[in-house]
């Protein structure tokens, strides 16, 4: 009895001590990359002092912080790991390039301050992502957040940004409805569901002569908020563009068996398949389509085929699938060549498709900080809202709801490579249409 009491007391004490010690974490979390001067010339020129007031030697400034702290939670592992790792590369490249040029000009301190990104892996778990953002907020006192990948993840993390009143820039999510929640701190230079639903029919109409178009459409809708939104838009936009939804099905994320859906779509004689699966789900859908011998003339899966491993894992079966990725390395905007060269050197292939949009986030942020001339979060937020600039993904400006006005290219897997097929002025290859049957590839 006494022993029990003594242990009880002892441990409560320890708990108190531990809890109070936890306030200042002694060990610093590993910053992602030291801001080293890189060999490459600064690609993304931080908008120089042209817009900011000239710093004169006589003027005295408050001491500048060592870094402009940015926080992020990125799914580097888990089901969105393949998307998140692309995003991270984009951030790292952009920060390295800006820091190579000395950093971002902040008028308040009269000098350039380098950026530092503290990014944690959230294992594709929204809860962990939320915890991560809370952590970087209080430990690093970040000026801005950068987003991770996938709509479901952003849905969780944007709420934290709003709660903490920290500007948030995110790509790799098309969920339009997040932007309709009245969030003031959210900005996304990335095509959204309405763009994707509109553009898929627009692209088909531009690329394929009337009469050959795949007017009978099947939609496989993932049962998530974003899936619901995009699926609904696919449906709503079909009729006006001259298309007909002949089969519409919902499935839960993580489903392993799609044979029922595929058989039904086949029976409905659909010519086109539209969907928004995660990478593993998308691979399962394509594999089972090939097993069941259903080859629609046109397939567009948003998100899933963005992964670089799509081609490796699926081989020929993965070909001819199209997607809206938000960017393609073959686009003709300033800075892309340098990114590609660097990516080629590091990974043996041109930049993955989410690298560009991620890169543009950092470009937009740096631009906004310079225009704001301060690290005050509200000022940066206001400056972001007024963004109008050229980036690696083309011209970027933001609407009142935080959505970006950006290019929305259609990309197709061809011979294990991604090719840009629409809009035609940016195209790197011609759309393969109709898709050859699986057993004839």
């Amino acid at each position: 009895m006494k022993a029990r009491m003594s242990i009880f007391a002892l441990v409560l004490m320890i708990s108190l001590i531990l809890a109070s010690c936890a306030t200042p974490p002694t060990a610093a979390p590993a910053p992602t990359k030291a801001p080293e001067p890189t060999q490459a010339p600064a690609v993304a020129q931080a908008p120089e002092a042209t817009k900011a007031p000239e710093a004169t030697p006589t003027q005295s400034f408050p001491p500048a912080p060592e870094y402009i702290e940015i926080g992020a939670s990125i799914p580097l592992t888990g089901k969105f790991g393949s998307l998140g790792s692309q995003v991270k590369v984009g951030y790292d490249y952009a920060i390295a390039d800006i820091n190579a040029a000395g950093g971002v000009m902040v008028a308040e301190y009269g000098k350039k301050v380098p950026l530092r990104l503290t990014a944690y892996d959230d294992e594709s778990d929204p809860t962990k992502a939320v915890n991560n953002l809370e952590k970087v907020f209080s430990e690093q006192e970040v000026v801005a957040y950068l987003g991770g990948a996938a709509s479901g993840m952003h849905a969780a993390t944007t709420a934290i940004a709003e709660k903490n009143k920290v500007p948030y820039l995110g790509v790799s999510f098309a969920w339009w409805n997040i932007h309709q929640r009245g969030y003031k701190y959210l900005f996304s230079p990335f095509p959204k569901s309405p763009d994707q639903a509109r553009d898929v029919y627009k692209a088909l109409n531009e690329l394929i002569p009337e009469g050959e178009r795949p007017v009978k459409v099947a939609v496989f809708q993932e049962k998530t908020d974003w899936g619901n939104e995009l699926g609904g838009l696919f449906k709503a936009d079909a009729k006006p563009a001259g298309y007909d939804i002949v089969y519409y099905a919902e499935y839960a994320p993580g489903t392993t068996d799609y044979s029922t859906l595929i058989q039904e779509a086949k029976k409905a004689e659909a010519d086109a398949l539209l969907g928004m699966p995660s990478t593993p789900d998308g691979m399962a859908i394509i594999k089972q389509m090939s097993e069941l011998g259903w080859t629609p003339k046109f397939t567009m899966l948003v998100r899933g085929p963005d992964a670089a491993t799509w081609g490796e894992n699926l081989g020929a079966a993965g070909d001819t699938v199209t997607m809206f990725a938000g960017w393609h390395y073959g686009e003709k905007f300033p800075g892309i060549e340098e990114i590609n060269a660097r990516h080629q050197a590091e990974f043996g292939r041109p930049a993955d498709i989410l690298v560009g949009p991620a890169y543009s986030c950092v470009q937009a942020l740096a631009d906004a900080i310079t225009r704001a001339g301060t690290l005050d979060r509200n000022a940066v937020r206001d400056a972001l809202a007024a963004t109008d600039m050229m980036t690696v993904i083309g011209p970027v400006s933001f609407n009142a709801d935080g959505t970006g006005n950006v290019l929305n290219p259609l990309v197709q897997w061809q011979m294990g490579k991604m090719e840009l097929v629409w809009p035609l002025d940016q195209a790197t290859a011609k759309l393969i249409y109709p898709a050859p049957a699986f057993d004839e590839r």
């Binding site: 029990r4 242990i7 009880f8 809890a19 709660k163």
Partner: protein
């Protein structure tokens, strides 16, 4: 009451006052988040321990109660109910669920109970995900306050631990332990195994449900099936084992140790921390089945033995030959 007991009670009081004054010592949200996480796990591990540790029914479906509590609270609260009744409703719903599944589940013995409850939690996890595929947002996001939530968790943790302490030190607690050591022996002693198991399950579910409710009140945004995920069973179970199952103090030590060590490992070895936890867990199950508490007791026992050896006195003798 002995002076020693008074000292211990005073110590507990000091600690409680210290924790109550904690929000006046820091403003740092991440510290709050960390402490709240510890509280959450203490509640979950302690509540798991009532059934898993004291009554010996390895419950791999604890997340179902946690999830049920959070689901009920979140739906009610988002639907416009005031926070306090919503939170209490979470606990009640969890108990209702526990009683509904308790009678069939306790037809399963030993490991079948474990995998049966795991299956039940998975069923709920998938079904809730199918029924509520949408992200849930905290209704209070615009004026979110961390301090009241801190007090909510502090209160919940204290109540859970106190309840666990009083429950297991009552007649019922002895009965539960007897059931753990052998149902047949307990039955022959006139202890209804089913009744004791149901009581333990209900108590365990109630506090897990309340933990879920507090979680729903605290968390900013999540998918409603997330609290049903198996990690909400496995992590508290690991904590209870690391601290020592079947003791009041074990889960408390376990959760502090788990969260604290995890933070340290995340800072120092990064991604390998889960591997280290796995190894630690296996070592404890294999070599120290009583967890850290047992390690401490062993140390103590060694000490008393050393002390006894210096003052030898015979114990436990029968048949001295002088019968009345």
């Amino acid at each position: 009451m002995s002076t020693k007991q008074i000292i211990y009670l005073a110590l507990i009081a000091v600690i409680l006052v210290g924790l109550a004054l904690f929000p006046f010592m820091t403003q740092d949200d991440s510290t709050f988040n960390l402490v709240i996480l510890v509280f959450l796990y203490m509640t979950l591990a302690s509540s798991w321990n009532i059934l898993g540790g004291y009554t010996g029914q390895t419950n791999l479906g604890h997340a179902a109660f946690f999830g049920a509590g959070s689901l009920a609270t979140r739906l009610l609260w988002v639907g416009g109910f005031p926070a306090v009744p919503s939170i209490l409703a979470g606990g009640v719903i969890a108990v209702a669920l526990a009683l509904a599944i308790g009678i069939p589940a306790f037809k399963l013995k030993g490991v079948y109970f474990a995998i049966g409850t795991l299956a039940l939690a998975l069923i709920l996890n998938i079904t809730i995900g199918n029924v509520f595929p949408e992200m849930s947002y905290n209704p209070a996001i615009s004026d979110y306050q961390i301090v009241p939530r801190y007090y909510l968790f502090l209160g919940l943790t204290v109540i859970t631990i106190a309840a666990a302490y009083f429950l297991v030190n009552s007649r019922w607690g002895l009965g539960m332990m007897a059931v753990r050591e052998g149902e047949e022996a307990a039955e022959s002693l006139g202890i209804s195994a089913l009744r004791h198991k149901l009581l333990a399950l209900a108590a365990s579910a109630f506090f897990a449900g309340l933990a879920g409710s507090a979680f729903a009140y605290y968390h900013v945004s999540y998918y409603l099936n997330m609290p049903f995920g198996p990690e909400w069973t496995f992590d508290p179970m690991m904590m209870a084992y690391i601290g020592g199952t079947g003791t009041v103090i074990g889960p408390i030590i376990g959760s502090i140790f788990f969260v604290g060590l995890k933070q340290l490992l995340v800072w120092n070895v990064g991604e390998y921390h889960l591997i280290i936890f796995g190894v630690l867990f296996i070592l404890i199950v294999l070599f120290l089945p009583g967890g850290l508490v047992e390690a401490w007791k062993k140390y103590q026992r060694w000490f008393t033995r050393w002390y006894q050896r210096r003052n030898t006195s015979p114990r436990n003798v029968i048949g001295t030959g002088h019968l009345p």
